[in-house]
């Protein structure tokens, strides 16, 4: 719960090296911090500022702009219930109320055991399965009270561990950065195209 661990730090340094200007790595590093701690901690923001050469206030300014970056602790699973028009017509508000009852928390809050955070979200482009919800940005739907209950209990029992990683982990496949193409080669290619 703090600055980057050694492993994360080496990943962070890789990310910084990808960009001509280190500041460009601010948002990827915020995601990395979120992967480590579930949310972007103050210590992580200060560490990111050191890594990219800005101030912690600037990192906070950037991180606080984006909904996907959480600056407060959230549950292991962030459940977003869509209430946009397609889902709404198919009973999203009922689903949201049910979700509140099942989890026993209001929208925006986290359960006592720290497992679930409930959110109301705008269209998540899963309209064909309305009413839909997302758990750590993985889609589920159509959902009613029963299927929602079963989703929650599966998440709780760990049955969906393969499918839904803890909040903050965007992908579990690590891709290597491609080899850098030298500028000369790009220029050469461009010159070739121009001819």
């Amino acid at each position: 719960m703090a600055r980057f661990s050694d492993e994360m730090l080496s990943r962070a340094e890789e990310l910084v090296a990808l960009y001509p200007d280190p500041r460009s790595a601010t948002i990827p590093l915020c995601h990395l911090a979120q992967e480590q701690d579930g949310y972007v901690t103050n210590e992580a923001m200060a560490h990111i500022a050191e890594l990219v050469g800005s101030t912690a206030a600037e990192v906070q300014g950037t991180a606080s702009f984006y909904d996907m970056l959480k600056l407060e602790p959230v549950g292991r699973y962030v459940i977003g219930v869509c209430t946009n028009i397609a889902c709404m017509l198919r009973g999203a508000y009922e689903l949201l109320e049910n979700a509140e009852e099942v989890l026993d928390v209001p929208v925006g809050a986290t359960t006592q055991d720290g497992l679930f955070t409930l959110e109301e979200v705008e269209c998540i482009a899963h309209c064909d399965q309305a009413p839909a919800a997302q758990v750590n940005y993985r889609y589920f739907g159509p959902l009613d009270r029963q299927s929602f209950e079963s989703l929650v209990s599966k998440l709780r029992s760990g049955e969906l561990n393969e499918e839904v990683p803890p909040h903050g982990t965007l992908i579990r496949i690590r891709r290597e950065a491609p080899a850098v193409i030298p500028m000369e080669e790009i220029d050469r290619n461009r010159a070739g195209e121009a001819e």
Partner: protein, 838 residues
């Protein structure tokens, strides 16, 4: 170079505008005021507030465009008063006011608020917004000096832009988005900047206020005068405002030649120390066997005069010494210089203890600040603008961003090191090649070079500093020189210091030949009978309190001072001196520009101006200085034949910034910018800030009436240290076993009597810190955050920090009485490092 012009049509009038400026500036030039919030002429345009929308005719008809965000172009047709523009202004204002509280009656900005003014001028007059407005916790202290009322913020990005672009310390930034966008610091990291006060001045609403001024006064009750900040010799132009005979605040005025409307906190909040009567000397007092008694001015002056007379009679004139501090006006300095040289006839005077360099190097070919910033190459030699001349740091940052190429020569890196072209260390272990490296860094481009010369590092002896600078100037013979010394310009100009070259003197009597260090040393040996400390704390010269006590037993100390200090506590005769804002006069800045000082309040208690005290002392000593008023002094300086020949107060009415001396210097001021009307609330109208504003600023000596006297005597050539034998770099004696080179550099908030009298700024005083290069730290076994003991001429206990910059050896940050103990009279200070047991 005259600006290129383009033809434009504004509101149906065919006009010409300067090419390449923003449309809003061109409209300002044409006298058309477009309402605005976010635009500031000294910062980049962002187009945040949309208040400056105007209609611009384009190929597809007229469209609304933000005038701060587009460049003026040839043939542009602009409408600023059309119905569409009015409607847009109503809309933007309604939007801004939707969440803005109506607490104007209790808001500090009320009465000088751009939002209030523009709501009256351009608003629709009534609100359709019936919903609950935003609420935030308030006020939030974003630093010790600045408070934030979030619900008043209109999100114009001025403060955050200032912090990022101008100050280079982005410690505040927007957080959140949309309706909940707010200014925020990070967690527990304060907006701790030397320049934080500026954000309150440029805030177009009452969201940012300064703690010292908060709820102190209403703007319409303030009276003001144009003045100059005297905390350092940058000479920032200010509007000094007061209410009920108390200084309330200082605002920066946009002077093109000097401060571009910015001030540092040290200057901006210096009004608080003047107001702090508890720390002021208010009445004359004498110390005798029975203790200290308050006496009348007459009695105190008589006592002073008889002491001085007895000392002269018994032990000769040299037994009377005068040391002067930093806050005297030009007139004060001249009066005391004349008293010392013509009446007392002593050679033991030093009014420029900070000038540890041969003053003649500064005047041979002087450059103005603007010249320095427009030069092809600028060499910063042994100066740290941020800590010595803070606003110059901002000017330099802006110039470097605009492409100025800077070579920095310093023993210890500064905050500019990261952005300059080249940093060349003054390495005591390898001095011989320093100047070679500097010349090499200029890439043979030796024609348009300005050298800004200072004496930042106290550990560098005056002779070594002069020798290095002399060598540099002899290798770059056409270089112009700008002084980078924070204090002492007045004393140099009148010749009130041994470091002042003969050619610029305004006094002609006995020449000073003992400097502050030798005077203090002589006093400690008992060779000085009377020591006059003019607003100078002897502890600031490196005396310990014990030494001060023993000195005051052997020497009669006469202290003329605004603030209580160790010196006033131990002095035999203490005289109260008026402080900044309490007296009229003038002062010189680092570029030898003559600037006015305004009197805004009555002096505290019985305080008097130093020049008056000098005149009275002279007559009690049976002589006359020959002046009764400030104007007499000005007249005498004008005819003196020194650098100030031709001095005249009429220049102040002719140009905003005051003239440069010697008057033979001609000055190119770039096109005058129209002021940001919101940067100086309360001084909103351009006319009130200075006469002839639009008429341009170039003073041609031949065109100015009434100063023919003395011009012929302006020194044409000054004695040169360049050509003399001094310009040979001294090889330092190598270190012996266990010794290390030490640098001692000042910080802006180093303990001084004035700072201790300031209830707000004294909290910023920090203990000295020894910054150690990591390799050296390892060798010495010094831990980050640990303590150690330095032993040089004296010894001092200091905190250690490992260097994160390019510090080469040991750099002690913080000039205090304790750290000055380490200095001896070597060319470079060597110390031994002992681990401390505590």
């Amino acid at each position: 170079m005259p600006d290129e012009l383009v033809a434009v049509t504004f509101d149906g009038h065919s006009l010409q505008a300067r090419k390449g400026v923003k449309l809003i500036d061109a409209l300002d030039d044409a006298g058309i005021n477009v309402p605005r919030f976010c635009y500031h002429p000294r910062m980049s345009a962002v187009g945040m507030c949309r208040m400056c929308l105007v209609e611009v005719k384009g190929p597809r008809g007229v469209s609304l465009q933000p005038s701060c965000y587009i460049d003026v172009a040839d043939g542009m047709e602009v409408f600023t008063e059309s119905d569409a523009v009015k409607k847009a202004q109503h809309g933007v204002l309604e939007f801004l006011l939707a969440n803005h509280p109506l607490d104007c009656p209790v808001c500090d900005k009320g009465g000088e608020c751009p939002l209030q003014d523009q709501a009256f001028a351009h608003g629709s007059g009534e609100t359709r917004f019936v919903e609950e407005k935003r609420h935030y916790a308030k006020p939030i202290p974003i630093s010790r000096l600045i408070k934030l009322d979030r619900e008043r913020c209109i999100q114009c990005d001025r403060c955050t832009r200032f912090a990022d672009e101008v100050a280079g310390e982005p410690l505040i930034d927007f957080a959140g988005r949309g309706g909940t966008l707010r200014i925020s610091t990070f967690s527990n990291v304060d907006f701790d900047s030397y320049f934080s006060g500026n954000v309150a001045q440029i805030c177009p609403v009452g969201a940012l206020t300064t703690t010292p001024y908060r709820f102190k006064a209403r703007p319409w009750d303030l009276i003001q005068s144009a003045s100059t900040c005297t905390q350092c010799d940058m000479g920032c132009q200010v509007s000094l405002q007061s209410s009920q005979n108390e200084l309330t605040r200082m605002l920066g005025i946009d002077s093109d030649a000097i401060n571009h409307s910015w001030l540092c906190d040290r200057g901006r909040f210096s009004t608080s120390e003047v107001n702090n009567v508890e720390h002021r000397v208010t009445r004359p007092r004498l110390k005798d066997q029975d203790g200290t008694v308050d006496v009348s001015w007459t009695k105190a002056l008589r006592a002073a005069a008889s002491t001085i007379k007895r000392a002269i009679d018994e032990r000769g004139a040299s037994a009377v010494a005068v040391l002067s501090g930093t806050s005297l006006t030009l007139e004060d300095t001249y009066a005391w210089a004349k008293l010392a040289s013509d009446v007392v006839r002593t050679n033991a005077v030093d009014g420029a203890a900070d000038v540890r360099i041969d003053g003649s190097l500064l005047l041979e070919n002087p450059a103005s600040i603007n010249e320095a910033l427009a030069a092809r190459r600028l060499v910063l030699f042994n100066v740290d603008p941020k800590n010595e001349l803070p606003v110059l740091h901002l000017r330099l940052r802006a110039a470097i961003r605009a492409g100025l190429r800077v070579v920095e020569v310093n023993a210890v890196p500064t905050d500019l090191t990261a952005i300059v072209d080249r940093w060349i260390p003054i390495d005591p272990g390898n001095l011989g090649t320093t100047i070679d490296s500097v010349v090499a860094a200029l890439d043979g481009d030796l024609d348009d070079v300005v050298v800004m010369a200072g004496c930042r590092d106290r550990a560098l002896g005056a002779s070594l500093n002069t020798a290095l600078l002399g060598e540099l100037l002899s290798r770059v013979p056409r270089a112009k020189v700008l002084s980078g010394i924070a204090h002492g310009t007045n004393a140099l100009a009148v010749g009130f210091a041994p470091s002042a070259p003969r050619g610029i003197r305004s006094i002609s009597g006995v020449e000073p030949s003992m400097n502050a260090d030798s005077i203090v040393a002589a006093a400690l040996r008992g060779e000085i009978a009377v020591l006059v400390a003019l607003d100078s704390d002897l502890m600031g010269l490196g005396l310990t309190e014990d030494e001060l006590v023993s000195l005051s037993e052997r020497t009669t100390v006469i202290a003329l001072s605004s603030f209580e200090s160790a010196t006033t506590r131990h002095a035999t005769i203490v005289l109260p001196m008026s402080a900044f804002g309490e007296q009229q006069g003038s002062t010189l800045n680092i570029e030898w520009r003559h600037l006015r000082l305004g009197r805004q309040v009555e002096p505290v208690g019985q305080a008097r101006s130093a020049w008056m005290v000098a005149t009275e002392l002279a007559s009690m000593l049976g002589d006359e200085l020959g002046f009764m008023t400030l104007a007499d002094i000005t007249r005498e300086l004008a005819q003196s034949g020194g650098i100030l020949s031709g001095l005249g107060l009429h220049y102040f009415s002719e140009r905003l910034d005051g003239p440069l001396f010697p008057l033979s210097r001609k000055e190119e001021i770039r096109m005058q910018r129209v002021l940001d009307p919101m940067a100086t609330p309360g001084v909103a109208s351009i006319e009130r800030q200075g006469a002839n504003f639009a008429a341009g600023n170039v003073v041609e000596p031949s065109e100015s009436p009434g100063f023919a006297v003395g011009m012929g005597e302006t020194p044409k050539s000054l004695p040169s240290a360049k050509s003399s034998a001094v310009a040979r770099v001294i090889e330092l004696e190598p270190l012996s076993e266990g010794e290390h080179w030490l640098s001692l550099v000042p910080r802006l908030y180093d303990s001084s009597p004035e700072l201790l009298a300031n209830p707000f700024l004294k909290l910023a005083i920090r203990e000295p810190v020894l910054v150690v290069a990591p390799a050296v730290a390892e060798e010495l076994g010094l831990e980050d955050g640990g303590h150690c003991r330095l032993v040089g001429a004296g010894s001092a206990e200091v905190t250690v920090r490992h260097a994160k910059d390019q510090t080469l050896f040991l750099a002690l940050h913080g000039v205090t009485p304790a750290t000055q103990q380490l200095l001896g009279d070597q060319s470079w200070v060597k110390v031994r490092v002992e681990k401390s047991n505590g």
